[in-house]
Symmetry: C5
């Protein structure tokens, strides 16, 4: 939950860094793994799309060399190194786009990772701290020349990468939807603390999702309006499509937020109903047995002069009276609809 | 509650698909059922309104052929196949409009289905997954040349179809209004869990309704502003009218939302009032009988020296004291307005 | 609570319909009652203000004739016949304005009725379902040539009619304000279900009021901006004045909404305080008498060997101990500030 | 709480009316008290600032004469006579500005009074119902030629008067801030109904404050944008300064609103905590003494054959058992952390 | 919590005032401590950046001299002396910027101090009441010519100072985030009043943070739009960066606000669950022992004719019955899932 701090593990030299270059155009495709920065710079192909991916932001040396090579602004480097809200920002010579990538969505707690893109004329840089991303399938598609990506420029590549990240949000929301349905069935009949805690953790996930989605829509909106020279007009509609998806995601997360607060109401009501029942049981029992106990107490007194004690049928009369009391109590409670 | 997934049942070859063409102008009217795509293409009438309706989105072959014939954009096809928020989007050569259609509104749970329209110069395509729609009566009106539809172009046809769908929302809201009134009468006198659950399911219906209505208004607002070249200016006022209806629906759903939360308050208050009553009964009974039981306990003790036990009128004096206690308790509670 | 339905009682031929024409200019004034449509059309005065008032929308024949005479758009007729949100809409040849009129405001439940205006060059049509309106006093003012109305055109007449309707809203809000003050005094001392239900019905009234007021402000805002050619610029300030009144009404209804939710809080707190008191009484009584009852129970046991029972002062010692217990309990509760 | 009604006491001839004229420029200063309207009109100084102040709106005769003299619009007169939301409105020949003045702020209940300004070329009219205002100190500053006011025109005078009124709001908010701090200290330790009622009355004060402040900001915003010809551009920054003050007041009232709702939460939690404690005491006492009372009851039975009763140490064994029960209960409650 | 008042301690001559001047350009750097105003004015370097810092606003004499020297507007002086919401305002000849500086963030209660900047062509004035600020490290960087500051003008200096202040907000938010996580772990298992009070104090801190942040974003937004001539266009992106940081801070504070209200829900639910448990214990104990106590009471009665008392096995039968009752009660509660 800490924010804006430098990513932990910075300057940890033991941790490996992955630097990867994919260059392609309609005809050619080249992939270079485990390069150092100098090799990478030599391998950049002037008239092709050069996708440079860096996993691991703690090697300041690499960052600095990339900064020099692509003349990245110091503010941009600051933004890459620290936690940022999703945004699109135009610098001289390139467009900067940062957003949150979700992964490990199967486990209870979602992990967010910031991914940063720098889109220039013939290059796209992507920066992230942790190894591994959502793009492996897509890399194959580039290699095999599936879809339009090889026929298009870097702005289309950026669209595809954002689109893949956004699609991944749908999985999280679908899972939240499933859990809501599951809880809903349980909460009516058996409101336990466990269901309550699940509702709370759903709410928390939705809070974080919205924090990632709202500024993302804003950032995409900026691009869709055609404010950036790095997105060709013919590709604006692709960004508009992602924009629509994010809007849809926001709608859904709003809906789910309303549904979780509805679940909360159901839980609270179920708790109160239970409390009510408990109190009724207590009251019925007390109301029936307190008078009876009093009566038998009366005839347990040791006064010398208690004429009823001497009556032959006194004992049975007392039983009769007590039976009458019980019956009238039950009728009273029945009328009050207590059971 | 799952979203953005491909519609279940895709590629299920067993499921039938309905492809239907209605072509008309002022003079002529033709309807072709159960066509295959090739026949359909041959039957399109250049200077007439051609309404192509496809029920069943799982036959990818048909979709692809239609895509080719009408040169539909791949993004549009994606939007048709997946769950979308209602929107209007202009492509080159046609206008895309998608919204949610309600049906089976008599049952407890409302069913939403996405319906997609593509409006071109001389054609209107409508796509939906499930068979059956709300337009049968309207098809007859076209055939019989009732109303203005035969005198107008495809943009008017689209307006009419949207209008029919929106009118159907009114039925749902009316039913919700009726249920609210019904619950309101009950909840004051007898707040059961059943009424509570009905309130909750109303709330849920309203949440989904709003999710369908807000983006629909937005989409219509785009058309009303005259941004689309496919809606003739003379027909803008019809779209403005549907826009007003949707605004009215939103107002009503807001009102109903406020009313259901008011019902919740009433329910909760009724529950609390009951709880209060139960507690009062318990307290009154305890407060009266505990002192009495103590007193009779005192004279049930077996001490050798308890002078009161020997008094001839001791028993009667005790009864007198206990009567006094009861009366003073009742006066006390009366003053506290406990009953 | 049903909406958008055709007004109930349509086509009920037994119900009477009132059609009325008032024509005036600076010099002349004419009023015609109980006309049929043909007579009315003959009596229209070309260069005067012609105010045509129709009470009763179920006679479709009259509506159709008026539609033909004034060339009203079918959409407009639909809007008149069905429940609409307040709006202003410009058609070719006239301006359409619809809003809600309040009446029977003295009774508990407010009645809303939709009133529709059509303002043309030299005519103003007003349509409503039920007989009787708020304009009788104003009709006299026209006849007697009081105020400016005879010196002005139809747009001023429309302003005056809207102003009269809006002024009537103030009565409702004043009454709500009075009731809030009344409840406030009661709720602190005696939170009964009756006060709670009154708060709820206030809330409901405010919900409906806001539903009528917000779109009305929107509609007036459209006119104030000078978008309509049927409102002369010199009269815009009158509409601005009504606009301000409606804004003021909205402010007040917001204030009252906040006050009613404050009343709810007070009510709930008063309920809880009572519950707390009840529980304290129960607990104090139980805590005092349970130990005492236990002690006297001890000496009610029948063991052969219970030395205390034989002590001459045993009985008095027990009383002393019990007194000690009661006193220490009372001190304990006093310290806990339970009473 | 009634609104838009004519000010009570209208036409009450007994009540005195104050009409006052202050005329000044750089060199001269004149003040005329208790004038009648005719005298006032004769004393107006053409090229000076003429500040006409009227306390008491019930003398319709004076109002009508002023209306004639300054050619005030009838709508403006209506606005002066009735309760209005703060607003700025430009008429031909003058600017109308109305806002709420606070006074008697030391007492528990704040009094709001509407004050109306009409700013013309060489005059400023101020209207209010009740005698006495906040401007006495400022009148002295004009007379003594302190500050800039004598060097400036009527628009600067209007700014100063509004500024004085707005400054007075700060006093109220400061007092509210002090009360919040005071309550906060108490509510944690001792949540009484008295503190609750104070919170509620704070909330009510804030509701009314906001109702006065929001439209005031709107009205000032209109002026700051330079829409009025009666405010010279060189003085716009003064209005911008008041605008900022009102924004600051709104921020503070929002903050205080949040703080009062936080106080409510604390109060409710404190109440619940107390309730919990009460219930725990009751339960601990009941759980300890009920089994004990049962046991002593067992040996109070009068069966002929109860072997324990004959055991010499039976009595002591029972005491031992009971001691064991008490100890184990205490251990149980300790583990549950009930005390 | 008092606002808009003159800073306490004004005119307290005993309190020391710090007046400091730092002048620099690319080549030279001069720092003058403990100057009086006259000396300061003589030391201003025409073509360098002159940063004048004043700690202590109570010496009106200094303020007046500075006002005269830099021709500061009286309104600006008022704004410096009183509590203001963060804002940017352009005066003739300089830009005024005021915001809140946080310090003593380690202690429980955050301290806010207003800091005011006046940016002119070749000077930057900074005013604050209390001694000590966050800029000491940065002063060293200027002296040592680290970073870009010596190569840039006053607008960059202002950016850096604001940036340092904003960065400090991150520390507060991080600490709040840590506390939220800490509380969350505790509140599930053990909802004490202490955790509740910590949640409340978090909420309060967030309320104040937001009050400082929202207008700050507004003020920065004004600058970012390039409305001020005192910010060079080449430096706008730096201000845009601070703007983004403040937006991020607002997002985070919103998220934390949602999380604290979620914590509140958890706390309240935990409290209710406990209450429920307590009530269940009470009810179970009462329901088991009340009937038993009644039964033993029956056989404690002293009637002459009670046949059971004479049965040899009567005592054992009673024990049997009581055992049966206990067992059936336990089964009943088990089925109700009470334990």
């Amino acid at each position: 939950m800490t924010e804006h701090k430098p990513v932990p593990g910075s300057n940890a030299p033991g941790k490996s860094v992955i630097l990867e270059l994919i260059s392609y155009d309609r005809e050619t495709y080249n992939k270079h793994d485990s390069l150092n920065v100098e090799e990478l710079c030599n391998n950049l192909q002037p008239n092709q799309v050069n996708w440079v991916n860096l996993d691991g932001l703690h090697d300041l040396d690499i960052i600095e060399k990339l900064q020099a090579k692509f003349s990245l602004h110091p503010l941009l480097i600051d933004d890459i190194m620290a936690d940022q809200r999703p945004k699109a920002e135009e610098f001289e010579g390139y467009l900067f786009f940062t957003l949150k990538m979700l992964y490990k969505i199967d486990s209870r707690d979602i992990d967010y990772e910031q991914i940063n893109f720098v889109l220039g004329k013939d290059f796209l840089l992507s920066f992230q701290e942790k190894e591994g991303d959502l793009f492996d399938g897509f890399r194959d598609r580039i290699r095999l020349d599936l879809g339009k990506v090889r026929k298009k420029q870097g702005d289309y590549l950026l669209y595809r990468l954002i689109d893949i990240i956004v699609d991944n949000y749908y999985n999280v929301l679908d899972r939240i939807g499933d859990i809501i349905e599951e809880i809903e069935e349980k909460v009516y009949e058996n409101p336990t603390n466990k269901t309550f805690n699940r509702i709370q953790s759903l709410k928390k996930e939705l809070i974080y999702l919205r924090k990632a989605l709202y500024p993302l829509r804003e950032a995409l909106g900026k691009l869709v309006k055609g404010e950036s020279e790095f997105i060709k007009e013919e590709n604006l509609m692709y960004y508009a499509d992602v924009y629509d998806h994010v809007s849809h995601l926001i709608d859904s997360s709003d809906t789910y937020k309303d549904l979780t607060s509805s679940l909360m109401d159901i839980h609270i009501n179920a708790m109160n109903t239970r409390m009510n029942e408990v109190m009724k049981v207590l009251t019925v029992i007390s109301t029936i047995f307190m008078p009876l106990t009093f009566i038998v107490g009366v005839y347990g007194m040791n006064f010398d002069h208690m004429p009823e004690l001497r009556w032959p049928s006194g004992y049975y009369i007392v039983w009769g009276i007590m039976l009458l009391i019980v019956i009238s109590m039950l009728v009273f409670f029945r009328r009050k609809k207590w059971f």
